[in-house]
Amino acid sequence: MSWVHRHRGVVPYLLLAPGLAWLAVFFVVPLGFLGYQSLQEGSFDFGYTFSWAWQNYRDAISNYHEQLIRSFVYAGLATIIALVVSYPLAYWIAFRGGRWKNLLLLAIIAPFFVTYLIRTLAWQTILADHGVVAGILRDLHLLDADGRLLATSTAVVAGITYNFLPFMALPLYVALEAIDPQLIEAAEDLYASRLQAFLRVTLPLSLPGVFAGTLLTFIPAAGDFINAQLLGTPRQHMIGNVIQSKFLELIDYPAAASLSFVLMAAILFGVLSYARVLGTERLTG
């Protein structure tokens, strides 16, 4: 007891220690190893050796910028669609859900009870050329007579949106749920229309949820490869597909590692700029 009193400053660090150790062992060390690998050269047959091979990075960007850009476009689209779909959903559950709230939230998480892979494989059936969805779209002339959904960009973006939707909906719900309804009432008492009350009270107060939701959706979506693999064609392949094939099929560790770092840097840059923009908006809004 007295030891703790005398070394009061140590306590927070002791409490942090397990978390820091976890981070060091499972994040920093592998990351360092990945960095080391990304600067190696050689081949799988003859082994890889470290040689400050910075050209791996140049090759990674010049050979695969197409997949890199595509990853960000698909992830961005999926994030926007997920936001548009989730916001009303979360809003409704938070303000009108009543005693069904928990059940409705459970319904959002329900797909997680099935493996990611199986969920995506199910979309192969949903979007199949002779499936119901393609058939209806064809009848409505939204799809050419010989058009298809499966193995297109639409299918990949739809798959990503579906798979990451709960990551958007749940933070939004948490943010909206925390809003005191009296604030909205007060706005209306002060002669704000319902739209004005939403735009000037509800929306700004829910921004932290929007921020968290978009990040939780966008970051994993940008690195995803399952949806492009199962619902797309080589023309829809994302940077994740390239990395997984380099790591596991070509066994080209340096290329795979440098691509991973490029992806990480690009995401980090995107997220920081985003935080800056949304951060200022929150202050002024």
């Binding site: 494989l121 199949a128 050329d129 499966l150 080589p234 597909n241 790591f247 596991l248 099929e249 070509l250």
Partner: protein, 390 residues
């Protein structure tokens, strides 16, 4: 461990799962939590059968009793020896399977398999032998090895068959779903790659040797002697077909689902698979392209840490001409076992004249073996992977 359960389920789900399965298994391997050390099996040849033989194979590659959903060959082996066979259909293509097993093997860990099956038109059987990741066969347990077809006895990657024994050979050609093509079979590579009526309903194979052989033959080039010009020419032609949206995907064994479901009009595919699929779907046909196809042999190998005696005993069992005929009759691939033709004739005279199982001279003259040197060319491998992976 719930993971095992889902994994086995997934494996049965079809080969597409293979892509994702690579992650858990390599993670497990990296953690070192699973799998006994390869050193556990001692060098001294033991002559005792293990309780279970763990056998990794491709889909549609062994006989199945349609009624009981059991596999007669494996059942008979169990009855004869008391050793159960854990049969995993977890190989979708050579590269991804090798990628999955190479990490534990390179760390001296067992991959929990006693037999794996890899194709000689990929560089991986050779690599497994070269890296010392394959166990030597116990030839004393395989007297039936004398029944191996002479033509297959001395492959370049294993000249004396010390490490490997053929499972089946097969040919690569084009399967058509007649329902989507107005009843006409796709018989040329020109149609497959350039006929706009098939746009987006065509798949090629992820195996470089298979796809390149067929395209090179269509280009009038020789796939048995690949040079930079002929390689690039074929590559460019495939890239054009991919960019135009003609090619929907590159697949391993996983073309079978979309082909029978009707999502594909034509698929570059392996001979026996399609014959098996016609049982459920009469609209499927398989042809060698008019310009020719390729022929390959799948090899059973014992990965390091596998049970040599049990695996060898099993190999001996499937080299019994009777058993070989039984497997070939179902899978419709070319059996490597001498005397199987006579046994097949006893089962059904028509079987012995099936050109897919016992190809005649006319068929054999149309199929080529892909240049083995080109397989180990890093530059080609890189270019190929970039094409199919991007």
């Amino acid at each position: 461990m719930s993971e095992t359960f889902t994994r086995i389920q997934l494996l049965r789900r079809g080969a597409a799962a293979g892509v994702v399965l690579t992650i858990p298994s390599s993670f497990l391997a990296a953690c070192g939590g699973d799998g006994e050390e390869a050193a556990a099996t001692t060098e001294a040849a033991k002559k005792q059968l293990a309780k279970t033989l763990r056998f990794s194979n491709w889909t549609l590659y062994i006989d199945i009793d349609e009624k009981t959903k059991k596999r007669p060959t494996l059942e008979q082996f169990e009855q004869k020896t008391g050793t159960k066979v854990a049969y995993f259909e977890d190989i979708n293509d050579n590269a991804s399977y090798f990628g999955k097993i190479q990490r534990p093997l390179s760390q001296g860990q067992s991959i929990d398999r006693d037999i794996v099956v890899l194709t000689d038109n990929s560089r991986f059987p050779a690599l497994l032998v070269k890296k010392g990741w394959a166990e030597k066969l116990d030839k004393s347990a395989i007297p039936n090895m004398s029944k191996l077809q002479d033509a297959l006895a001395h492959p370049s990657f294993d000249p004396n068959r010390d490490y490997s024994l053929p499972w089946q050979s097969g040919m690569t050609g084009i399967a058509t779903n007649l329902k989507l093509t107005g009843g006409k079979a796709v018989t040329t590579m020109d149609q497959l790659l350039e006929d706009r009526k098939l746009k987006g309903k065509v798949t090629l194979l992820t195996e470089m040797a298979d796809t390149m052989s067929l395209v090179m033959l269509a280009n009038g080039d020789d796939p048995t002697k690949v040079d930079d010009t002929s390689f690039q020419k074929a590559l460019d032609r495939i890239k054009k077909a991919v960019d135009s949206g003609q090619v929907r995907q590159f697949t391993g064994n996983d073309y079978s689902g979309p082909l029978s479901k009707g999502d594909l009009a034509a698929a570059m595919s392996w001979s026996g698979d399609v014959v098996q699929l016609t049982v459920d779907n009469k609209n499927l046909v398989w042809n060698l392209p008019e310009s020719g196809g390729d022929i390959w042999t799948d090899n059973m190998l014992i990965p390091k840490g596998g049970d040599v005696f049990t695996a060898s005993t099993f190999m001996n069992f499937v080299y019994d001409p009777k058993i070989a005929a039984q497997i070939a009759a179902y899978v419709n691939y070319i059996t490597p076992v001498k005397g199987a033709k006579e046994e097949a004739a006893k089962l059904d005279p028509k079987l012995a004249t099936n050109p897919l199982i016992f190809p005649d001279e006319a068929t054999l003259s149309k199929v080529k073996i892909f240049d083995s040197e080109a397989l180990s060319n890093q530059d080609y491998a890189q270019k190929w992977q970039t094409l199919i992976g991007s």
